[in-house]
């Protein structure tokens, strides 16, 4: 671990209905392209991108999951170790928005309670087909204490911002955690080896 060249390592998992554009968001961010006609994701896909934020190297492990029901048990196994979840829906598809509470239940059940969740409304390039009002989505996100952002993987709108904002937030929380841990420090063993990734359910 220490040989590798980064200051922070975060796991980000994308979830949401099939077809809302999770794979496109990941490919846009990691490869800078909008893939034409790739099939639906099978199981999970895994990509890595290292970004620099205020002089610190941040390695992002991005897990792109399949939205279909039959892959649910595979994707669920990734929630627990995720530092952040990107819950995605399609602004041109009311249905994908209506499913959000179901996804939130999954998060509640499987993710660790320190996980950072951001709600993303994708495909804003299709403004004329919009079915979910921005205000409605914002209100919903706020009621669930999630961040909210609208993106277009196609036009590359807000995609970079999505991941970089998330990385910033994660760094902020990691630093906060570290502070908290050195503050209370009752566990002599944990103290020195504590990592920002520590999301164990103990103590």
């Amino acid at each position: 671990m220490s040989m590798e060249d980064y200051d922070y390592l975060f796991k980000i998992v994308l979830i949401g209905n099939a077809g809302v554009g999770k794979t496109c968001l990941v490919r846009r961010f990691t490869q800078g392209l909008f893939p034409p006609g790739q099939g639906a994701t099978i199981g999970v896909d895994f990509m890595i991108k290292t970004v620099e934020i205020r002089g610190e190297k941040v390695k992002l492990q991005i897990w792109d999951t399949a939205g279909q029901e039959r892959f649910r048990s595979i994707t669920q196994s990734y929630y627990r170790s995720a530092n952040a979840l990107i819950l995605t829906y399609d602004i041109t598809c009311e249905d994908s928005f209506r499913c959000l509470p179901e996804w939130l239940r999954e998060i509640e059940q499987y993710a660790n309670n320190q996980v950072v969740t951001i709600l993303v409304g994708n495909k804003i390039d299709l403004a004329e087909k919009r079915e979910v009002l921005r205000q409605k989505a914002e209100d919903f996100a706020e009621s669930q204490s999630m961040l909210y952002l609208e993106t277009s993987a196609k036009e590359s709108d807000n995609v970079e911002k999505l991941f970089l904002d998330l990385a910033c937030e994660l760094i902020r929380e990691a630093k906060q955690n570290k502070l908290d841990n050195t503050d209370s420090a009752p566990m002599p063993g944990e103290g020195k080896a504590i990592s920002y990734l520590s999301c164990c359910s103990l103590n």
């Binding site: 199981g43 595979i74 196994s77 566990m187 164990c200």
Partner: protein, 736 residues
């Protein structure tokens, strides 16, 4: 070039405007200044014109010579003109000649083509007649192959030629033939279809194949393939049904009974593969096969099972089924790839991957794996819980049964997931295993450690009455209640120490598990090879490293707790008893101490006794760490104590001897270096051993040689002051 020409033109224009200053303008001028300016302009203009004239005149000679050369060329040009017109005449002639020849050739060609057409038509008409007769005979003789061959010949005749023939003189004869042939064609199609159906019904493979081959001759490729496909499907289906009935109705006492469904699936897939192999050209039609069996399989997966052990066979079966399906898909992939031209492999490969990944077999398998994972997770969690509940510890063993059991279960589940050949399935189970180990199992160990290492007065009894027999006797005399008390204390102690060992073994086992899985996976990848898949697995496996570290941290916590509750309270009084031994001594007492050691030997015996218990009960690695903690404690306490004493010259020597004995003993009990920990104390002893205050300077500053002082100058003075025979003025006066 064009540019400079442009500017030149502009300039010329300018000078023109200057020279065009007319008389009127000039006569209108009244100011001397203006006049002078215009005069100057005119003068400049004149100069320019003169220069131009000069240049032109200079070119005259040049132009003259050129003119002469041109005049000399005149006669030659006339000659060439004549030759050229002659040549042109010749070319025109040749051209018309060629035109004539080619027209004749074209006519010849046309004649030849017509001739060929005539021959072809005659042939076709003859063929038609031949076919008409042949078909009749063949049909009559039930020689369907022959009849089909005739029809095939007829169908490959040029339809326009036939059309033309019908307009010719023999139209009626041709028409009759055609009608006959078409009738025969229809009849043959019906017969062949019927015969094929009959053969299918009779399960007569030879006949099926015979009529299957006739279909393409009649232009019925699709229909033939479809019928044949149906036949093979129904064959496989009935075979599968048979096997399934055998499977469900079979005697479950048999050894393979638990794998019967996987076996059935294997039989089926092997059957399909064999068919594909023998009937290579129709591979593609077999994609639609799978619903038959997956459907029946799904029904066989039990819904509500509480007892994890009963899940075992189902889990093994499902993974085996997936592995077989993967094998089958790999087989198809290889077969299909072999058919592609080298050039379009890439394009085809993408399409094929898409097709295979989204085909019914794959999606059904994905669904099955989707059911498998939570079942396997349940199995793993429940089995680990059971192992914890049934935890037993045998005297003399370092660890208790649950650690081995737990890792056996985790390994088994991951291996099973691995055996499914599905990377996503394997990754999911690694994630779950990590979760079970890091949360569930670690929590169990954590809670055991949190109960602490019991510190009771019984410990002191044990110290003082160092025979176990006496201890037992005394506790028996104290009655049953206390015996239980002793027992439970002893149990609690053992439980704590065993848990420490357990934690350490867990950390080791997780590391080993990760390494072994890496090896297994690399073997798997040498077959399938997917760099993306490999990255996925590596990432999931690397989480195991974090978990192993968490166990190491837990071990450290436990050891600190042990040191605080079991070692510190014992060691501290032993060390402070040093205060009771005077080190302000003279020759006589020094010799007395020599004969009857006043302190250090007892300390060593006490330490030895204290640690023996741990040495027996802890793994070597943990024991070593614990001794290290103990030696640190000893050195710190010693330092504190020594600073509270006063020393004579011989007292210093006595302390030096005692310290040497202690360090020598501690060196034997641990692999850690002791000297470093005792460096400060050793230096204190050196100071307490000096003859005079100033002697310190022989060891200080530039004289220190290889010695690195761990004591500050202030501490050196403090230690010097412990010597009752050293005067404080001398110490103050020292320049350190």
């Amino acid at each position: 070039m064009a540019d400079s020409g442009g500017t030149a033109a502009v300039r010329r224009c300018d000078s023109g405007s200057v020279s065009s200053i007319g008389m009127d303008t000039i006569s209108a001028l009244t100011e001397l200044e203006d006049l002078e300016r215009v005069y100057q302009q005119l003068c400049d203009g004149e100069k320019e014109v003169e220069a131009k004239l000069d240049r032109l005149v200079a070119q005259e000679g040049n132009i003259h010579t050129k003119m002469l050369a041109l005049q000399r060329m005149g006669p030659n040009l006339q000659l060439i003109g004549g030759d050229a017109s002659q040549l042109s005449g010749m070319i025109t002639f040749t051209c018309s000649l060629a035109e004539n020849v080619s027209r004749k050739v074209r006519q010849l060609d046309l004649a030849k083509t017509r001739l060929y057409n005539v021959i072809q038509r005659t042939d076709d008409i003859l063929d038609l007649k031949f076919c008409t007769d042949g078909v009749q005979t063949a049909l009559h003789n039930e020689d369907y192959e022959q009849a089909a061959a005739h029809i095939h010949r007829y169908l490959s005749l040029d339809q326009s030629v036939i059309e033309l023939s019908r307009q010719g003189e023999e139209s009626s004869a041709v028409d009759a033939s055609l009608v006959l042939l078409q009738e025969a064609e229809q009849k043959l199609k019906v017969i062949v279809a019927e015969k094929l159906d009959e053969a299918v019904a009779a399960v007569d493979l030879a006949q099926v194949e015979r009529f299957f081959k006739i279909f393409p001759l009649l232009g019925l490729h699709q229909q033939g393939l479809a019928r044949f496909g149906q036949y093979l499907c129904s064959q496989l289906a009935s075979k599968a049904e048979e096997n399934l009935i055998l499977a469900t109705g079979g005697d479950l006492g048999e050894k393979r009974a638990q794998l019967i469904f996987a076996d059935t699936l294997t039989l089926l897939l092997e059957g399909i593969a064999r068919v594909v192999e023998t009937h290579q050209p129709i591979v593609e039609t077999y994609y639609g096969l799978d619903p038959i069996w997956t459907h029946s399989m799904m029904k066989s997966v039990p819904g509500e099972i509480i007892e994890p052990r009963e899940l075992d066979p189902v889990l093994s079966e499902v993974t085996l089924m997936n592995a077989r399906a993967e094998l089958y898909l790999r087989f198809l992939r290889r077969r299909i790839m072999a058919d592609f031209e080298v050039g379009d492999i890439q394009k085809h490969q993408q399409n094929m991957e898409k097709l295979l990944k989204h085909c019914l077999l794959s999606t059904n398998m994905q669904e099955l794996i989707g059911y498998y994972i939570p079942m396997e997770e349940y199995y793993m969690r429940e089995s680990v819980n059971k192992a914890v509940a049934m935890d037993t510890y045998e005297k003399g063993q370092l660890t208790s049964s649950m650690v081995d059991d737990c890792f056996y279960i985790v390994k088994k589940c991951i291996s099973r997931a691995l055996s499914s050949s599905s990377i996503d399935c394997l990754c999911a189970m690694i994630n779950h295993a990590n979760s079970v180990l890091e949360s569930d199992f670690r929590e169990v160990l954590y809670n055991k450690l949190r109960q602490g290492f019991p510190a009771t007065t019984l410990q002191d009894i044990q110290r003082n009455v160092s025979s176990a027999v006496i201890l037992m006797q005394s506790s028996l005399q104290q009655g049953k209640f206390n015996t239980l008390g002793i027992e439970s204390t002893e149990n609690a102690k053992a439980a704590f120490l065993v848990t420490l060992n357990n934690v350490e073994v867990c950390s080791e086992n997780i590391t080993t598990l990760k390494r072994n899985l890496e090896n297994d996976c690399s073997k798997l990848f040498s077959q399938t090879g997917g760099s993306g898949d490999q990255a996925k697995i590596e990432s999931c496996l690397s989480d195991l490293v974090n978990t192993s570290t968490k166990f190491k941290d837990l071990l450290q916590e436990g050891l600190t707790e042990l040191n605080t509750t079991a070692i510190k309270p014992q060691v501290k009084p032993w060390i402070s008893s040093f205060l009771a031994i005077s080190h302000n001594i003279e020759e006589e007492e020094f010799n007395d101490y020599e004969a009857n050691d006043p302190w250090v030997q007892q300390l060593i015996i006490n330490l030895e006794q204290l640690m023996t218990e741990f040495k027996m009960a802890l793994s070597p690695v943990i024991y070593d760490t614990l001794t290290s903690l103990m030696t640190s404690l000893v050195s710190i306490e010693m330092e504190k104590t020594v600073l509270k004493c006063s020393f004579s010259r011989l007292g210093g020597l006595q302390f030096d001897k005692e310290l040497r004995s202690l360090v020598a003993y501690l060196t034997t009990v641990t692999t850690w270096t002791i000297r470093d920990k005792f460096a400060r104390l050793t230096q204190m002893a050196t100071i307490l051993n000096l003859e005079r205050v100033t002697e310190i300077l022989d060891y200080w500053g530039s004289n220190s040689g290889p010695l690195t002082w761990r004591l500050t100058p202030a501490e050196v003075r403090q230690v010097l002051a412990l010597r009752i025979d050293f005067r404080s003025e001398d110490i103050k006066r020292l320049r350190l």
